[in-house]
């Protein structure tokens, strides 16, 4: 097991360096002088000189790469053009909101997706057909469009939910009401993000439960006279759950990208909204920073899922 984890760890470290090198190369391959990409459209020769020196742009390419890697590892990703703040602190301040959104969505996805998938596999017939068709439609509808529609229907026309943000701007709530207010604002974005992934998890759960249901120990359980509900939820689901859990874990990358688009629609103050704003302002260092931080988050989650998978399923350890 340790060998496997060390192998994965090496892969992830190599991946992280690859990502740093990709971003570095992109900055240098882009048309125009990289100085202007890193410094913004300023004409102050003193400032340009300072930036050139700071990023070592007057040195040969491989030295520049080493300097860049060193800076990234130190967490120094430069400064935002438009906000007088370092890229790292700007992104770190937005991570909690994004995590809140992703974790809430993941919670909904795990509950609803696993439930629907199990029901579809256990009942078959028309229930299965309906769930199958719905999940196929669910994976085909772009979630940003779905979010837009939800915003138009539930916020703008029915006035049931706020149009955006994380907290109410007009009133300040205290204590428990503060958290309830956040939850109220969280509802639409989390649901939007969840629906798309529920469809995926339903499909995966259904496939796995169906496969487990053909195995011998299910026949044994049934012939012992156990009630069907117990067979499905105790025996089949339990054994089908490991691949589902892994799927949900590895799907965090998809959720992160989904969160970026969802945050844009509902003005949820996380990394996604920051990315959208920097895209509009052409705030290049922040964009690159979000890419590097996003990749780092996904790598860490993948590593955690790898380790959990190993602990959960003893069969993998032997391989």
């Amino acid at each position: 097991m340790l060998k496997f984890i060390i192998q994965r760890l090496f892969l992830y470290i190599a991946l992280f360096f690859t990502i740093i090198i990709i971003t570095f190369l992109l900055v240098h391959l882009a048309p125009g002088d990289p100085t202007y990409i890193l410094a913004g459209q300023v004409n102050d020769p003193e400032f340009i000189k300072a930036v050139r020196h700071r990023f070592g742009l007057d040195k040969p390419l491989y030295v520049q790469l080493l300097i860049y890697i060193e800076n990234v590892l130190k967490g120094d990703l430069g400064y935002s053009y438009f906000r007088s703040e370092s890229v790292s602190s700007l992104i770190l301040s937005r991570i909690p909101a994004t995590f809140l959104l992703i974790l809430t969505a993941m919670f909904i996805v795990s509950l609803v997706g696993v439930f629907l998938g199990t029901i579809a596999a256990a009942k078959r017939g028309w229930i299965d057909a309906i769930i199958s068709v719905l999940s196929l439609i669910g994976v085909s509808i772009p979630y940003f469009w779905l979010g837009l529609l939800m915003l138009i229907i539930f916020s703008l026309n029915l006035n049931l939910f706020p149009t955006g943000g994380m907290t109410s701007l007009t009133t300040t709530y205290q204590g428990i009401y503060y958290y309830l207010d956040i939850l109220y604002h969280l509802f639409l974005p989390a649901t939007t993000l969840a629906i798309f992934n529920i469809a995926y998890v339903t499909r995966v759960t259904r496939g796995n439960v169906l496969e487990v249901l053909t195995q011998d120990f299910i026949i044994t359980a049934r012939s012992k006279g156990l009630p069907e509900r117990r067979v499905i939820f105790r025996h089949a689901l339990r054994n089908a759950l490991i691949p589902v859990v892994t799927f949900i874990g590895f799907n965090t990358g998809v959720l992160l990208v989904g969160a970026i688009l969802t945050e844009t629609i509902f003005s949820w103050p996380g990394m996604g909204l920051l990315l959208y704003n920097s895209l509009q302002l052409r705030d290049y260092p922040v964009m690159l920073g979000i890419f590097i931080y996003g990749a780092l988050i996904i790598i860490i989650i993948n590593l955690i899922v790898d380790i959990l998978y190993n602990i959960l399923d003893p069969r993998i350890r032997k391989e």
């Binding site: 892969l11 991946l15 992109l26 085909s140 509808i141 138009i152 496939g207 844009t264 964009m287 890419f291």
Partner: protein, 288 residues
């Protein structure tokens, strides 16, 4: 006569018994969408993106089928041309992905050993990097025009195809005709190009179809964030515009482009799923 028709239906049923509902619906949907995209100049009345074809924010009517947007652009015209853009980007980027993925997959599957390990680790790594973020960074760095968008989506969407090609190559390689080709003394390149490739390709095609659907979604997502070619009408761009003017409460601005985008992705997903099932009838009733 009745008997004849009955016999004929029976014959058709047997002949197409491998066809499944998903495949048929998928083919139909994709064909309709592709025809709309090809016929775009003939079923619209203005070039795309012309402003002030009508008053702004007109609800759908006979004159403006899908209504007009904030600049008085006809949403119907732009949606139809947007479908065309989506198809072009989706198909061409999937072709780029196919070239890279099949090349890497076949090399890994054929040569095994160190080369396979290396290529598959690279594929593993490429799988983890979120495609959307990488494509976004590439397009914004190189400049948002349609060629860069196709290129960026293409070079970020090959890992799935590479894995699939390697898996099929491994199984094709076990067949006796590959051994025969080797005994005959054919060169590696000859074996790969005239034996392995034609026999591996059919099982990879459904996954390429799924990739087209995925790439259309990525392109629309980029457009939704405002990263799109300003000179080309695209569905993502229309949705981005709808979002920016959401307070005008012009529901038609987002509803119509979104419906066509969803139908297009649904079509390619159904087609891909249906083809997988068509090629492996064993999977029938198992996957959906």
């Amino acid at each position: 006569m009745y008997k004849l028709i009955l016999n004929h239906t029976k014959y058709l049923k047997e002949k197409f018994s491998n066809f499944n509902t998903r495949l048929i619906v998928g083919i139909t949907l994709t064909c309709i969408i592709v025809i709309l995209g090809i016929l775009a100049p003939f079923i619209t009345w203005y070039p795309p993106l012309t402003v002030m074809q009508g008053p702004p924010y007109q609800p759908p009517s006979l004159q403006y089928l899908f209504g007009t947007d904030d600049l008085g652009r006809d949403i119907y015209v732009n949606t139809i041309y947007g479908i065309r853009t989506s198809l072009i980007v989706g198909v061409l980027s999937a072709l780029i992905a196919m070239l890279i993925g099949i090349l890497l997959g076949i090399i890994a599957g054929y040569y095994r050993g160190f080369l396979e390990d290396l290529l598959m680790r690279i594929t593993d790594m490429a799988f983890i990097i979120p495609q959307f973020l990488l494509a976004l960074i590439i397009v914004t760095t190189l400049g948002p025009n349609i060629y860069n968008i196709i290129l960026a989506i293409g070079v970020t969407s090959w890992p799935g195809i590479a894995r699939m090609t390697r898996a099929t190559t491994l199984s094709v390689k076990q067949q006796t005709f590959i051994e025969a080709a080797k005994v005959l003394g054919l060169s590696d390149i000859k074996i790969i190009s005239s034996e392995l490739l034609p026999n591996s390709l059919p099982s990879v095609i459904p996954y390429i179809t799924l990739q087209i659907g995925n790439n259309i979604l990525v392109e629309a997502g980029l457009g939704f964030l405002g990263v799109s070619d300003p000179n080309v009408s695209s569905l993502g761009m229309l949705l981005n515009n709808a979002q920016q003017h959401i307070l005008a409460n012009a529901w038609w601005m987002s509803v119509f482009p979104g419906i066509f985008l969803s139908l297009m992705i649904l079509g390619f997903n159904l087609l891909g799923d249906g083809l997988i099932e068509y090629m492996n009838p064993r999977l029938r009733r198992k996957a959906f």
